[in-house]
């Protein structure tokens, strides 16, 4: 399970303008946009700093090549470490205040990221399709399931924060027109699958396993809409028990981790091309971070189609789902809380704010690219988009390591067989339906998204 601060804090009032600096989502957006603006500023003054700090460890067969690369890039490694450390420390200071522990924990995480990247670039690992994303995950899982993770390290395992930052940076490499065009297709496709999966889990949970309706809805939301975010949003909306929300979250994480391994294997076995593969992962995976790990195990195109499907097609619409569920809860299930009428404002409150950063990043780069001639356009690619993409890859490596290091499978599996079975029924519908839509019916469309 993930890190949770043991420090007892008094409850403070929620909401208001302070969300802008008290929510992880906003910090992912602020930091992501800061990085993009820095890249633009450095390029505009002719400074090569951004290209200097990004490391792209080359594929090698002789370990001396890797050692030589690292020793010749010592300063850049240090600069990259300090770059991330300074940015993340600002956010951590405001969000949790535990900067000192984070500093130690992040130093360890960064060092492990370098080691895993070097190991994953070895041609033997590539030959067995065991590249950096899966390797980071496995290394993390082995450590966390056999050793006790110290508290100072736990403070640096901010999986959600890293993946949200990565997704904001991802916006810089996706033209805004593509987000609009592909986003509508993704939404239509994702909605069909989400509805089928939601109804399956809800029906199985309530009718076959006699689970409480609110519990079943919380489970169904996690398995169909957008993972943990959906479970906590719907859980609150329908006033589910805390234990039930915790179980739903555990199941989402458990199945997400299983899917990181199953989906890339199935994609390779079925010879699915990267575009449709990413779209399939986008509907089949339950959470952003594990989905990104599965997509990164394929290639860059799969990362793009995954992001369009998961973030644009699913995550953005969580507020609307909540609104519908709130109405259902009050009008159909139980009138005890008739006073808590759903408010349309909740759609905005539930909106994942880091997606705004993703969209703004895309708009900034799209405008910049549109106003450039051929030569400038190439310079933008080389000096802005490429270094941002490399920094994004580092954010994802921190994500994959954090998933592994914070997931203790024994604890995740201790949820009871009934909710597990109901959730699994949804998985059995979600996976083939996603394959049918993303690969068989819409495959030719997703191939063209690059």
């Amino acid at each position: 399970m993930g890190y949770a601060s043991t420090a007892k804090k008094s409850t403070v009032p929620a909401g208001g303008w302070s969300d802008l600096w008290r929510q992880e989502d906003y910090w992912a957006m602020w930091l992501g946009l800061t990085i993009i603006l820095l890249a633009i500023v450095f390029w505009s003054i002719g400074n090569n700093f951004m290209n200097w700090i990004v490391l792209k460890i080359p594929s090698y067969s002789d370990y001396r090549t890797a050692i030589s690369y690292l020793t010749s890039h010592k300063s850049a490694i240090l600069a990259l470490y300090l770059f991330f450390l300074i940015l993340f420390s600002i956010a951590v200071k405001v969000l949790s205040g535990e900067v000192q522990r984070f500093l130690v924990g992040f130093t360890f995480l960064f060092s492990m990221s370098i080691l895993v990247s070097v190991w994953g670039s070895w041609d033997v690992m590539k030959r067995y399709n065991f590249e950096t994303p899966l390797l980071a995950l496995v290394v993390g899982l082995v450590i966390s399931n056999f050793l006790k993770i110290p508290y100072w390290l736990s403070t640096a395992l901010q999986t959600q924060f890293y993946v949200k930052l990565g997704i904001v940076l991802m916006g810089a490499s996706l033209p805004f027109t593509l987000i609009i065009q592909a986003g509508s297709t993704a939404f239509a496709q994702a909605t069909i699958i989400s509805l089928a999966t939601f109804l399956t889990i809800y029906w199985t949970g309530t009718r076959v396993f006699a689970l409480d309706k609110r519990f079943a809805a919380t489970l169904a939301a996690g398995g169909s809409i957008c993972g943990v975010s959906a479970s906590i949003a719907i859980g609150g909306t329908v006033k589910a028990e805390k234990q039930h929300v915790s179980i739903a979250i555990s199941l989402v994480i458990l199945w997400s981790i299983i899917m990181i391994f199953i989906l890339p294997l199935a994609i390779k076995a079925l010879n699915i091309l990267p575009g449709p593969a990413g779209a399939w992962i986008g509907t089949a995976e339950f959470a952003d971070a594990p989905g990104m790990a599965a997509a990164a195990a394929i290639n860059e195109q799969a990362i793009k189609t995954f992001t369009l499907m998961k973030v644009v097609g699913r995550d953005m619409f969580i507020g609307i789902w909540c609104f519908i569920m709130a109405l259902t809860s009050i009008t159909r299930w139980d009138k005890r809380y008739a006073g808590t009428n759903p408010n349309a404002l909740d759609i905005w409150i539930r909106f994942p704010k880091f997606v705004l950063g993703f969209i703004v990043a895309s708009i900034i780069i799209t405008i910049l690219a549109a106003s450039a001639n051929g030569v400038t356009s190439k310079a933008i690619d080389n000096n802005i988009i490429n270094p941002i993409s490399e920094l994004r890859n580092w954010a994802f490596i921190f994500t994959f390591l954090s998933i592994g290091l914070s997931s203790r499978l024994k604890e995740l599996a201790s949820v009871g067989w009934k909710p597990f079975a109901a959730f699994t029924a949804g998985v059995l519908i979600n996976i083939p339906l996603g394959y049918l839509l993303s690969v068989v019916i819409m495959g030719n469309y997703w191939i063209t998204i690059k």
């Binding site: 993930g2 007892k8 403070t155 943990v228 975010s229 929300v245 915790s246 808590t340 201790s414």
Partner: protein
């Protein structure tokens, strides 16, 4: 599920509105924008507010006696009590045991993942 394995934080939010009770016609309906307001309507408002404010104060006392960690915010037309460390079902039970029903408050429940949970 063991408490240490919980993956979310629950925030219970109780809204106590001064001038209306959910599911009840507010006394202001006989006053605001009404021509020829009757003195009786003012007396009704007085009775309503006296009783309503007393009951809100009692509910606040009950909740703060049973649990200390509440963020209490006063707004122009309601009191908001929020806690992240006391289950909403336990709060509901206390209020109901003392004769307060669901029409006397609005309860909203919000969950957030524990900081760092995937």
């Amino acid at each position: 599920m063991h408490k240490d394995n919980e993956t979310c934080v629950q925030r219970a939010r109780f809204f106590f509105y001064f001038f209306e009770k959910p599911k009840e016609t507010p006394p202001f309906d006989q006053i605001v924008k009404v021509k020829q307001v009757k003195p009786e309507a003012i007396r009704n408002l007085n009775k309503f507010l006296t009783s309503r404010l007393e009951r809100i104060a009692t509910m606040m006392e009950l909740l703060t006696e049973v649990h200390k960690d509440w963020a209490i915010t006063g707004k122009k037309d309601y009191i908001l009590m929020e806690t992240e460390s006391y289950d909403f079902n336990a709060s509901l039970q206390i209020l109901k045991e003392h004769g307060f029903d669901d029409s006397e408050f609005i309860l909203k429940v919000e969950y957030t993942r524990k900081w760092g949970v995937l």
